[in-house]
Amino acid sequence: MLENNNLKICRKLVRREFQFHKARSILLMGAIALVSMLCTFSFSLGFVIRDGLMYGHRIQYGSLSHILYYGLNDSQASALARHGDVKNTVSLRAVGVLSDDVMEYRSVKLAAVSPDWAEATEAVPVHGRMPQADDEIALDELTMQSLAIPPKEGEEVVLRWTPVDGGAERTDTFRLCGWWDSGMGATETCAWITQATARRLCPDAPDSVTLGVTLYRPGDLEAQAKELLYSLGIDGVTYTTNLAYNNARLRRIGTQSMPYYMINIVVAVCGILMVYSIVRISAGRNVRFYGRIKSLGMSPRQIARFMSQQAAYLCLPAVPVGWLLGFGLCIWVSPHVLLGMERHNPALLYFSPLPFVFSGLLTWLVTWAACVMSVRPVSELCPAEAMRFGNDSRMRCKNRQAGRRGRRRRTEISLMALSGFRREKGRTVLSACSLLLALVLLCILWTQYVSADEEKYVKAFSYSDYLIADASAATGLQRYNPWSCSITPEFMEALRRREEVTDVGTIRTMEVPMSADEEERAQAVAFYEGREQDGTVRKETMSGLPDWGTGYEKFRETGEYIGIAVGVDGLALSKALEDSGYAGGAFDAERFDTGKYVVAAGASSTSGISTLPVGSRVEIGGRSFEIMASVSHQSRLVTGSDSREAEFSLSYYMPAWVYEQLFPDSGIRNVTVNIDHNSQKEFEEFLCELTRDSGIQVTMRSDFQKNFRNALLHNYMIPLFVGGVLLLIGMLNYGNALVSSMLVRGKELAVYESLGMTRSQIRRMLVWEGILYGGVQIFIIVPVTSGLTWLWGRWWIAHSASAWCATWRYSLLPMWVALPVLAAAAYVIPQCCFRILMKESVMERLCAV
């Protein structure tokens, strides 16, 4: 027989279905909007996180280009630019490299302005502009801070640099015309001058271009980079590829953003359950409806179409609402998940339409699956059976009982309620289980969340409330410049005058060449030639640092080494002396203050230390000191880096006033400050004001607090979110089971009524049923949830590594919030159902099709 399926009829049926069951449809749309919101949120967040991590890797690489080729000549560069796989290129022609000592950890090229290159490496002046006049220069902030150049237009800039044409190092003077935040250029960036200046400074610059290449398809960059050179027959050119596109990194990014996509599985499953539990209320009616249209000749294809259109019809208004809400949530949350992006909201910066497409599809699927699930019997039953579906037999035998019981008094009403409640045992258990699952999860997470201890966390990360760093020691990529002096005596004066300041410490350092005789260096040599517990020779573990190796060998053979004179006082001194493993000699504050003694610091283990022995004499800055004690070197004492030469070095702590006498012109490297925490806000405002535009780096107590809160959010947001969704679903299930157990009995209640039961008796019966239903579940939930939470929490505090900054606080807040809602619902829902049921007359309900 020829099938002739008119599919248009489906649309009409869908529309009518909607008109006839408005309340239910709107409820469904609400649930669907919720699903769509959750999907949009987690997809968007996953995307934002992925893009944010990618951006982080690109910052590390220092360029947005996929491949960088070095040392090309002009014809090679233009050949590459014309290649079919290449989307676009940016090129740089450097005339030299800044060669000041303090620049040794970074590579800053002196180059003629290349706007494309500047764009691709985010080296575009944010303040001021690119150079236009002959002696103008634009720099990045890190370079300016290292060289102690104040951020002011027109400021004089004296640069030591080495030309690329092989000439000797030279010094030139420029005027500052613009600067930018170093962001992407932490390790490598440019100092921009005009074309004319570049030609003047380095007229014989070789034909050498650095080319940044962006490809159409950024996959397997190593292979593509090689293939490009091979296909053009270019030889002997070096290149690097962008780490952000490295396969292993991409995979890692994938795994890092995976949890956010994974939420969607939970959302989908919960969503199906939620939508299903709403649709299920009228499942019987729906099955009969499908049986009816099937008996009139609706084909399976038409029925399938009908269902999918129904899902689409429900999704159409609900999904956009979910999109908006979900994306809004993402905008709100993403800055807390992707740190260090204060300027732009990551959700807006990395906006992509894909999450919306995905969430739309997923939501539709969820709706469709729930609709299909609810009418599953249709496909298994013959139309004749489907049409009778749900007019179940158990009702018939109830009728008789109702007849006998209807006229009795109150106690019997509660008995009837009990039997009604018993009939819904399955649903009650299901609802209690889903509620339990959600509440136990939430309470456990909540207890962990409130147990997290900010004080413990902050203490673990910083020994003082504030750590202030000289501009040239703001990051580890900068070599500390003792002459930068951005922390001025006036600054210290202002700081000390603040009332809330309880403790101040300063640290000054200076690298000085020193030497030790054979006897004196024996202890240190023995330490490094000795073996660690696992059997490896200690000096071998340092093989990753070639400069250290050179320094050590020199020390071992000749006794010459770099000593670091450290002038410390206050808080910093106590940190420096903090016990950590081995200590030799004894520290005596009074003798230390005489200025005749120093404390030696070096690498240590439980059995040895790399310093000269206690009692040896050392000469620093022309003055002789006796080593009073030796302690383990505290790496977190100072910020910034020492020179490469000082990779192998020994530190000598001396009182600040002695240091000042020895090196009167050197600046302060770090200042540590403790304050009265009650005035934290005022003090931070004061500090911000004091350090504005000075390049001074302040690590604030509030930074750690912010980190702590963000870490907390990062750790608990997703689980709490999932728990919240589960609870919501559990609550909906709870309400739904109650509603549907009552609404499907319209006919049964009509029978009771027609047999003489009064309305108030019916109402009482329903309310009793609700109270029983809610009471039993609450009775189970309270002890189980509190018990499990307590057990798990104690175990977690005692054994989990993630509890290192936690103090046990037992809280069942989520449960205390949920319980009143559950109790109220158990009382209110039956009343509402009663009202709805009683709207129709007895006859209408008895005859209901």
Binding site: M1, L2, E3, N4, N5, N6, K8, I9, K12, L13, R16, E17, Q19, F20, F289, R292, I293, K294, S295, L296, G297, M298, S299, P300, R301, Q302, C382, P383, A384, E385, M387, V849
Partner: protein
Amino acid sequence: MDIITVRNLKKCYGSGERQVRALDGVELTVSKGEFVSVMGASGSGKTTLLNMMGGLDMPDEGEVYVDGVNLSGLRESELAVFRRRKVGFVFQEYNLVPTLTVEENILFPLDLDGSAPEQGFLEEVVSLLGLEERMQSYPHTLSGGQKQRVAIARALAAKPPVILADEPTGSLDSRSGQNVAGLLKMAAEHYHRTLVMVTHNRELAQLADRVVYMENGKIGK
């Protein structure tokens, strides 16, 4: 020529002690153009038999041939087409689609098939059944008798070769009942349709060419 052949049809509902033999070896043939009345006590299996002939239920044993086709050999989609083109079913409980108007209900089987109704014939049926005034109403606003008449109009609209009517006059007064039965008979004769009608009314049954009696799931004498 036989259009419906029912052979050794058996159907049980339930299991164990509560098992009910709704059909217990029914044998029946209906020739093309014939008008057969089915009578029998309540619960004797009349509706079950009609359902089997309309492809709405599957027998446990035995076969049903309609127009030479074995119904148990059809796939779901073929059954759907069979239901909408080959038979017009008047259900004992009307089975109107609640979300469609009377007119849409009547045209539903045609709409499913994507074919157009024969206008003249349709108007004639509608006016004979006295439904002109209620064409735009929804089923829940109709009386039992009106619903029954809509169900009859729906069964006739697609001009199917076989009409199966399960107590089509159960909710009508005896006068309307006579009219409706007359209409069915006329339609059957006029358009050469086959008509199987279940009824409890002896008078109406006499309109048929043949009356069969059912008893405990069997065709009696």
